[in-house]
Symmetry: C2
Subunit: 188 residues, 2 copies
Amino acid sequence: MASALRVLGIDPGLTRCGIGVVDVRADRSATLVHVGVARSRADDPIETRLATIAAGIREVLAAHRPHVVAVERVFAQQNRHSVMGTAQASGIALLMAAEHGIAAATHTPTEVKAAITGYGSADKRQVQTMVARVLRLDALPTPADAADALALALCHAWRQGTAPQAPGAGALTPAQRAWADAERLSRR
Amino acid sequence: MASALRVLGIDPGLTRCGIGVVDVRADRSATLVHVGVARSRADDPIETRLATIAAGIREVLAAHRPHVVAVERVFAQQNRHSVMGTAQASGIALLMAAEHGIAAATHTPTEVKAAITGYGSADKRQVQTMVARVLRLDALPTPADAADALALALCHAWRQGTAPQAPGAGALTPAQRAWADAERLSRR
């Protein structure tokens, strides 16, 4: 397989935290590496729930050693009952990246939809269908949180830029440099 | 010194995270153990900032070994620009407690004000003045985040109940049981 950028996508949540890992090559083609969900029990204390989510993310980081972690950006305007728990889970996800020495990035839901389907107001089903097609899956990934995590990972790789240049081919943009670095790492 | 409940209070924040440790005895008297602020640089990546806050909290946990961690509860309604970062920092604080096997609790700003001053709409200055008086400090603790962390810690101890009963003195409430357990632990 050609060298690829391995991205861990995280759709943060306390009850279900979607976790997906994909390998994305410079030609934008992608392969599923891992998909799953870390769950915590609603009747556990909040600190236990966050530790459960942290353990689920750590496990995937250790097993699949991604080059970068992409986390959905949470907004206060998403005025759901659960938004504070979602923000806390996103903090845990970003901390796990930092503590493993892995770069992290956040993307908004609109950025993810635009990157995957071509338009920012796509519905969830359209995003899932596209994710399944890109990764050549027989069925839509479920639950939705798992599909969203894969979409985030693909979004991150595709937004980073997909055409690493040969050394000497001119100055690299920061995104291209990140890609080139990640490629080099993946060859070790 | 009589056996005391050692509480770590945390006023979560990304730029400044207030951290205070107090020993509170059954007669509600209290002693300052530690007060400080974990700071992170606004121009660092978010994952680095969260890791900096985590390191600051871990240091205090290791140095002072509290029985319980009290964290200010963050609300989405606090529609400040920084509310998501505050929520993420609170998630980190709760995770640090869980990973050290220490119980955690959250209290609202209104609960803290009521516990410290006797009324829930007290202003910040009144809370700080009372914290300084209770802990017999020569000056108001600064910055405000540090004072708020001490107030949280005192609030937690006082709300837990202050009169641990001797075994056999009757059924204990959950709060009294927690206190008695903490007292036992502190005698080891």
